[in-house]
């Protein structure tokens, strides 16, 4: 197993690559979507939360990830002894109508396939995605973690419908028609996911790129009056069963899975790791379940993280673990210190477990 660090778009520089190397990482998971684009100012470095207006403005639909920018990132990471294990998330500008089943769907699917090929050409083995209409919406931020450290959580369901022009918690159209996102049933959304995987998985497989699905965050049956796909651990199996392609993989988020109201995180990990479906792991801890959970420091939540590491090892998992989120420490370097704490803990867990019989 390898230790990795997730970096947002604005963190893709030598300073952050160096920090990852110092903390003992050998891999990076990078975000190319600028969640903060033209958004109201918020915590400088941390994960985006945003209100009912979502995060920021989606990117340029006509500007696909170029092979050059991907290769440049891989080369720069290599100078720090790091590999890029995955790109996390498509820009909603690139697949808004794939999610909504809109008029540009066919064109956008072609764009996604082009980008998947380029990612493969650059030698990046995975793209993480979150097939969702409302996206990561409805979370709050506060002094929820140990010692009053700032963390993220939910405080009840959020049902306000998504306004037109917004998809995946970002704005894709500055001048939308008035009104809200048209209704969509759960079956319809599963069918849209199936359309996406049917189009993308053959290209992904051919390009040596896994497509790794993040569970819904927060994992509620509906968020902002839109359906969700994977809001219980068992629903990951439904996604896997859509396609036997080895490129059909999971972006296995322990935090989101533990926030779900059913299931058992250890049994789920055993099952999905044994099926060789975990592309990479989001390693974070949490207290509570939806609609009332809070993210915690890695040692301070309800998940026995060492037990998870031992299950992953026993089932032959050899991929990357990243701390996807960490509480912000009250000090001059809140994001770095919070991540450093999680990375130190994870490094020790890996060193300890790897020498066990």
């Amino acid at each position: 197993m390898k230790l990795g660090l997730g970096l947002y778009r604005h963190q893709l520089d030598d300073d952050h690559f160096r920090f990852a190397a110092q903390a003992g990482c050998t891999a990076l998971v990078i975000h190319l979507v600028d969640y903060f684009h033209k958004a109201a100012p918020q915590a400088a470095s941390d994960q985006p939360t945003g209100g009912l207006q979502g995060w920021g403005r989606a990117g340029d639909p006509d500007r696909l990830w170029s092979e050059k920018e991907l290769k440049d990132l891989v080369a720069r990471a290599r100078t720090h002894g790091l590999t890029i294990a995955a790109i996390e998330n498509f820009d909603p500008a690139h697949w808004s109508d794939v999610l909504r089943d809109g008029p540009r769907k066919a064109r956008q699917l072609e764009g996604l396939k082009t980008m998947i090929r380029r990612v493969g050409e650059a030698g990046i083995p995975c793209i993480g995605y979150n097939f969702s209409l409302a996206g990561v919406a409805g979370r709050v931020r506060g002094p929820f973690a140990r010692g009053g450290a700032e963390a993220v959580g939910t405080d009840g369901p959020v049902d306000e419908p998504v306004p037109n022009g917004m998809v995946w918690n970002m704005v894709v159209d500055d001048h939308p028609r008035p009104g809200t996102m048209p209704p969509c049933s759960s079956d319809q959304l599963w069918s849209r996911l199936n359309d996406f995987l049917s189009a993308a998985l053959p290209v992904a497989e051919q390009s040596g790129v896994a497509l790794a699905a993040h569970p819904d965050d927060p994992p509620m049956p509906t968020v902002r009056s839109t359906p969700r796909l994977v809001y219980q651990p068992r629903l990951y199996q439904k996604l896997i069963d859509l396609s036997p392609s080895p490129a059909n993989q999971l972006e296995y988020c322990l935090g989101s899975l533990a926030e779900m109201t059913e299931g058992d995180i250890y049994a789920a990990t055993e099952s999905y790791s044994s099926q060789k479906r975990i592309a990479y792991v989001h390693f974070r801890n949490v207290r509570g379940k939806v609609p009332h959970y809070k993210e915690t420091f890695v040692d301070d939540g309800e998940i026995d993280m060492l037990r998870i590491v031992r299950i992953l090892r026993r089932t032959g998992y050899q991929g990357v673990l990243i701390p996807d989120h960490a509480p912000q420490m009250s000090c001059p370097a809140p994001w770095h210190a919070g991540m450093a704490f999680a990375l130190g803990y994870m490094r020790a867990a890996l060193q300890a477990v790897e020498r066990e019989g």
Binding site: Q22, R146, G147, V298, Q351
Partner: protein
């Protein structure tokens, strides 16, 4: 802290304070830590009671915990420690007002600090004795007796405050460093770590180029006699006060060093020391870094002294190399996997503190919060793995 020389190892920060890291480089050998309650296999019930003062027994789980010395004792620094799950704070004697002038701890000056720390739901887990405290004794000067008196008063003060562990060293090199202001021979800091991290490092050949002997030449016999004098005088005081003394081994573990024959660097030497004054309160500081540099098997060390309850405190760092030449790395990046060492501590009933000792230095890491957070996380990960 004006007495601390501005040497490569003892850089004074731009704010005029001494970096904790730098302080510990010198004091490392001196580092003191906390030993808390533990299953004392071979010790009397009285001793077991004595290890846990009221502050520790009040709901404190009898498990290994992580400690470190914060950059300062401000509320902000304490809160940052609390957030990463450190409830046992390490306090340096110079952090206590009045100590610089009197050379001993005082109840009235210690109490407000202790109360403020406890107000954050934390406690003083250990106190580090300053490294010039025994300088007269170690340098063979006439005032040695006064040093022993003052240290005794400090121990008694800690006993009244129920602070369980005093970390100290008997290093002539640190007495020279802190009284004569000369840099430690052979010690250096260079960007040798991953990602350009600056690591403290030692080269014995470089140390030998320093030919002066500021303390004169001290033989093994003379060194042992000074050490024995200390033990016979101060251990009974600790015994009475129920404060665990944690003796730091030689650092660096080479001999001779600066003209001095260093003698506290082998399993046999530690046994000899403990035999001078047998007491449950006469204990060792398991400085994993220097023990590793000395070529002693770490698990063997723990299995030798752990079951008898002789490890009063433990501190950790990564080490690449040996006493001839070594560098202090991130804890996962040294020559030895530390997981079996923490496992052995757990198995031999150690329930005291694991201290983040020396850390690599990163750019843009004010107060070393980032590297401290990483290191605390690392030790917590090892503790979690050991407790399976």
């Amino acid at each position: 802290m004006k007495f601390i020389p501005n040497t490569p190892e003892n850089v004074i920060r731009s704010d005029g304070k001494i970096g904790r890291r730098d302080l510990l480089v010198r004091a490392a050998s001196l580092s003191v830590g906390v030993a808390a309650s533990r299953a004392l296999l071979n010790l009397s019930a009285r001793a077991a009671d004595g290890i846990a003062g009221p502050a520790l027994t009040a709901g404190a789980a009898r498990v290994m915990r992580v400690t470190l010395r914060p950059p300062d004792l401000s509320d902000d620094s304490l809160i940052a420690l609390k957030q990463i799950g450190v409830d046992d704070v390490e306090v340096y004697t110079f952090d206590v007002p009045g100590y610089a002038e009197s050379g001993q701890l005082d109840d009235a000056q210690l109490r407000p600090i202790q109360q403020r720390i406890e107000g954050h739901g934390m406690r003083i887990g250990t106190i580090i004795l300053d490294q010039r405290a025994l300088a007269n004794l170690l340098l063979g000067k006439p005032d040695g007796e006064r040093d022993l008196d003052k240290m005794s008063r400090t121990i008694e003060c800690m006993g009244r405050a129920s602070i369980p562990v005093l970390m100290y060293s008997l290093l002539v090199s640190r007495a020279i460093l802190n009284t004569l202001g000369k840099p430690l021979p052979g010690m250096h800091r260079d960007p040798l770590g991953r990602g350009g991290a600056v690591l403290s490092n030692f080269d014995a050949a470089r140390a030998r180029t320093v030919t002066e002997e500021p303390a004169g030449r001290i033989s093994a016999e003379e060194m042992w006699s000074r050490i024995e004098r200390f033990a016979r005088r101060c251990v009974p005081v600790a015994d009475q006060a129920k404060v665990h003394l944690a003796l730091h081994p030689d650092d660096p573990p080479v001999s001779p060093y600066w003209g001095v024959t260093q003698v506290l660097n082998s399993l046999d030497s530690f046994k000899r020391f403990l035999d001078f004054a047998p007491s449950p309160y006469n204990g060792l500081l398991f400085c994993q870094g220097t023990i590793q540099e000395a070529g002693i098997d770490l698990v063997e060390y723990v299995r030798t002294f752990g079951p008898a309850g002789k490890i009063a405190h433990a501190e950790f760092r990564g080490v690449r190399g040996n006493a001839r030449r070594y560098e202090e790395t991130f804890m996962d990046d040294g020559d030895v996997n530390l997981a079996p060492v923490v496992q052995a501590l757990h198995e031999t009933g150690y329930t005291g503190l694991l201290e983040v000792a020396h850390v690599p230095h990163l750019k843009r890491d004010p107060g070393e919060r980032i590297v401290d957070a990483w290191s605390v996380g690392f030790l917590k990960g090892l503790i979690a793995a050991a407790a399976r």
